[in-house]
């Protein structure tokens, strides 16, 4: 193939509307192997690219000698920082991360040079031949020491501090509980490592085919680094093998474009799994201290907290992550007084940024452990304590913001807690912790059960003018939707078709490839925002087409447009007098081009107060675990969940989000931690970084999807992607505590935390 083509997504043969379990339109190519993921891209003239990375977490670069690499047979380019023509640095919030390190490296794995050659083997030889003279320096690896240490970056070591104070600061409770908690670094572990293909264009620009979460913001950053006008850098979405936040930042984007422009040849690059661990940001590790105050009846009076996140070497989206952690630090409870300090700092550890749940995952582990502690201190049932304090619509958050949308927190908690449990104690040794049938002694296996509640904001916050764009074209009875929303697996393509069918009453819906070349920004596939934002844009575009068409048809037939409906591929009058085939009235295309904005928000003030968020979603998980005290092994036996979803647009897909998110939560609870020692990742492989398998995951029981339509959201649907990974970890950890009576301050819970406790 000489031309890279990303196929349109055609309609599936059946054409279900809103509320039905429409199958994915990209499903057939995904099951027959023909779907083009970014790693599958191919161009007959292409070169292969590769990246030389720093072996040191902190070092000065004295010199780089590319001579021996250039001499390797088959090498077409070896580039360093000196070859970056535009902005030398990029970043989501601050452009603080070098495209290629120039004189300093600040984390292990930081890109230092890039290579293009005609064969992957030649790339490997060239990377080995580059001589970099490093002067290794002592890395700053303790986030607690970051603020008092010499700055490791011109921007300083403090990335952001928010000191939220709410209500009367002198409140002291009759019952006070205090706790310290620690969360390890989690990797998104998407299954398709970073990859892409850049093709130089005749106009001096470049076309980049890439797996990402936000095409337009990538485009702007890449163009700035290349020193090109944004319209000369065209990004098209190639198949995305999962994202979960790890594709929000640039990785190989600028590198590929630099190599393609330099060699005037298409260049493909694919990260290995090990490289992927170094090539994207992770979930921030957290240290958290909490003090909860309540009266004897169990009413929460005040929460104090100190949150410290390790941002690693570069800012990425750390500023927004710490805002979320701070705003949602105390959980979905009514609390009149609070003092929460959230701090995120720079260190020489791997950079951290977005991952599903975005700051609310770490704090949920903290606030839910505190609620259980408080329940114990009050000698109260943990569910009852939570029920007494849950937020409802009309209540005030710690930021002073009043919840104006739906907040069925009590229903979420009640349905989850009341759901019958099917988990009997297993007789089968294969089902005991360890699973191999010969490890666990059934006598020493203890069962524990617990519940956790969590929440977070939907969409972007703090005054960001967030929008999505969509084009709708209706011609010959076929609707074509163009939207740059990144489909990363979540099923936006399915929803876009369902929404279009619902509004226009058509079956055939074509989705053109997502690209910066054809349409405005759709914003990021993150913050549980695309169903609302790009779904809203598609809905608005279709509605505008409907209005235009019906106005025209009404005028032609001398009827009132309000009398007309579109259904089943026809335009009909309610009275039944008119019934026209849609194709016949759309030989002339009807088009709309829409930008959809959500309600504006405000920044947080110096006290962390303000109407900073648009909407909130709530979830609960109940976990039942079996724990082998001798070996420290945990088996999650049952996981039950309820979630506030606004409205279900596609039941199977919605439940799929709940199941997949819960699995990532189980992973963080018991197995997933990027081991960073002296600034170096020690387990950059799936051999050593363990991700839950089908055997580690119990079936996820859906107790309830609470449908209270959210004002302002398309069809009332809230985003659903993140809550499942928020309360699941906290529930599993709490269940392990219940089974063992151990405090277990560190998450994930390690076997030694259990087996060696008290030893």
């Amino acid at each position: 193939m000489t031309d890279v083509r990303i196929d349109e997504t055609r309609t599936s043969e059946r054409a279900p509307r809103i509320g039905e379990s429409a199958p994915r339109p990209d499903g057939i190519p995904k099951v027959d192997g023909s779907f083009t993921f970014s790693s599958d891209l191919w161009h007959d003239r292409m070169l292969w690219g590769g990246t030389l990375r720093s072996p040191h977490p902190s070092a000065r670069i004295r010199s780089i000698d590319i001579g021996p690499a250039v001499a390797v047979t088959g090498v077409h380019a070896v580039l360093t920082a000196a070859d970056v023509p535009g902005n030398p640095a990029y970043g989501l919030e601050h452009a603080d991360q070098p495209v290629l390190a120039a004189d300093v490296v600040r984390y292990e794995g930081e890109p230092v040079a890039i290579v293009a050659a005609d064969h992957p083997e030649a790339v490997r030889l060239a990377l080995e031949a580059i001589v970099v003279d490093y002067e290794s320096t002592v890395p700053l690896v303790d986030p607690g020491a970051a603020e008092s240490s010499d700055p490791i970056h011109p921007d300083g070591n403090l990335i952001r501090r928010i000191h939220l104070r709410h209500g009367d600061q002198d409140v002291v409770g009759e019952v006070v509980v205090e706790g310290t908690y620690e969360v390890g670094m989690q990797d998104q572990a998407f299954l398709g490592p970073e990859s892409g293909l850049a093709v130089p264009a005749e106009d001096g620009g470049v076309d980049l085919f890439i797996a990402t979460q936000w095409l337009h913001v990538d485009r702007d950053q890449v163009a700035a680094c290349l020193g090109l006008a944004p319209e000369l850098v065209r990004l098209t979405l190639a198949g995305v093998g999962g994202a979960f936040g790890a594709r929000e930042d640039l990785s190989l984007h600028a590198h590929l474009c630099l190599l393609a422009l330099h060699t005037r040849r298409p260049v493909k690059m694919v990260y290995s799994r090990e490289e992927s661990f170094h090539g994207h940001v992770h979930r921030h590790p957290a240290r958290m201290w909490y003090r909860h105050h309540a009266d004897r009846a169990g009413n929460l009076l005040r929460v104090e907290a100190r949150l410290l996140l390790d941002g690693g070497a570069y800012a990425s989206s750390s500023g927004a992550v710490i805002a979320n952690a701070t705003c949602f630090a105390a959980g979905p409870y009514r609390i009149p007084s609070a003092d929460i300090e959230g701090v995120v700092v720079r260190t020489n550890n791997p950079p951290c940024g977005a991952m599903r749940g975005f700051g609310a995952v770490q704090t949920c582990i903290g606030h839910e452990a505190q609620m259980d502690r408080l329940a114990a201190a009050l000698d109260m049932d943990p569910v009852e304590l939570r029920m007494r304090n849950v937020l409802a619509s009309g209540d005030r958050l710690l930021t002073g913001q009043v919840i104006t949308g739906t907040a069925p927190v009590a229903e979420v908690l009640r349905t989850c807690a009341d759901h019958p449990s099917a988990a009997a104690l297993s007789e089968d040794p294969m089902s005991l912790p360890g699973g191999a049938g010969r490890t666990a002694d059934p006598e020493h296996v203890h069962r524990g059960e617990a519940i956790a509640l969590g929440f977070k904001n939907l969409l972007f916050s703090e005054g960001f003018d967030d929008f999505s764009s969509a084009l709708c074209r209706l011609e010959d009875g076929i609707a074509t939707i163009t939207c740059a929303c990144a489909e990363v697996g979540q099923g936006f393509v399915t929803l876009a078709q369902q929404i279009t069918r619902e509004v226009l009453g058509v079956d055939d819906v074509v989705l053109t490839p997502a690209s910066t070349a054809t349409v405005g920004s759709a914003g990021s596939t993150s913050a549980s925002r695309q169903t609302w934002m790009s779904g809203g844009a598609v809905q608005a575009a279709c509605e505008e087409v409907r209005t235009t068409l019906l106005t025209r048809v009404a005028a032609e037939h001398g009827v009132d447009p309000d009398e007309l409906v579109m259904a089943d591929g026809r335009v009909m009058s309610l009275a039944g007098a008119l019934d026209i085939d849609l194709a016949s009235v759309t030989t002339e295309p009807v088009e709309a081009d829409v930008e959809f904005h959500h309600a504006p928000t405000s920044p947080l003030d110096e006290y962390g107060q303000g109407d900073a968020h648009v909407s909130f979603a709530f979830s609960a998980h109940r976990a039942i675990v079996d724990v082998d005290r001798d070996l420290g092994l945990v088996k999650v036996v049952e996981l039950t969940t309820s979630q506030d979803v606004g409205r279900v647009l596609n039941p199977l897909q919605a439940v799929g989000q709940l199941e997949g998110g819960a699995a990532q939560g189980v992973g963080l609870a018991v197995m997933e931690e990027v081991q960073v020692l002296d600034g170096r990742i020690r387990n950059a492989s799936f051999t050593d970084y363990l991700v839950p398998t089908a055997l580690d995951m119990p079936p996820v029981e859906i107790a309830a999807l609470i449908e209270e339509p959210e004002p302002g959201a398309p069809f009332g649907a809230k985003g659903i992607g993140e809550p499942p990974s928020i309360s699941s970890t906290a529930a599993v950890v709490a269940a392990i505590r219940a089974a063992t009576d151990l405090e277990l301050a560190h998450v994930p819970v390690r076997p030694t935390d259990i087996a060696l406790a008290g030893a």
């Binding site: 499903g27 993921f37 299954l191 979960f244």
Partner: protein, 160 residues
């Protein structure tokens, strides 16, 4: 780099290609034969995204050297449909929403096929054991397990 001439059968078709000794079967399938269905998720035998059948047995093609494929019969995800008719597993995965991003799917389908070929009536636990070598980061596995169960029912019905 010395390159070996390799002859084998892929998805029923005789093929031959050149590969250096250090090339994995996965890279040969993807880069020499253009069969990109099998994916590299880890390159270390841990994720199963590269699963193929070699002479009917489930293998991680990232761990097999291309020259080892000499004379074998290989089946990849591209070869499990019956011409235009999807394999029952492919059909139940579609209908059961057993895939999201879909990058694990080719490997999961091959592993599930290997299971059902050997054991047409697996229990849920047997399915979970058989698929424990295939990581999926998106689905949480429930819908995959249900879809394999459903395909097993359909295949048994068809065999009757």
């Amino acid at each position: 780099m010395s390159r070996t001439h390799i002859t084998c059968t892929v998805n029923g078709d005789p093929v031959d290609f050149l590969a250096s000794d250090g090339t994995s079967l996965l890279d040969a399938l993807r880069d020499e034969l253009g069969l990109t269905g099998a994916k590299e998720g880890c390159g270390t035998g841990d994720c199963g995204a590269c699963s193929v059948l070699i002479d009917g047995r489930l293998n991680c093609s990232c761990l097999v050297f291309a020259p080892e494929a000499e004379g074998t019969e290989i089946v990849t995800v591209e070869g499990i449909a019956d011409d235009d008719r999807l394999h029952p597993l492919q059909q139940t995965f579609l209908e059961g929403a057993a895939l999201q991003c879909g990058i694990c799917t080719p490997g999961v389908l091959i592993a599930a096929k290997a299971l059902l070929d050997a054991n047409p009536d697996p229990t849920e636990t047997e399915i979970r054991y058989a698929l424990a070598g295939n990581l999926c980061r998106c689905t949480g596995y429930d819908k995959i397990v249900r879809s394999v169960q459903e395909a097993a029912v359909q295949l048994k019905g068809a065999a009757r």
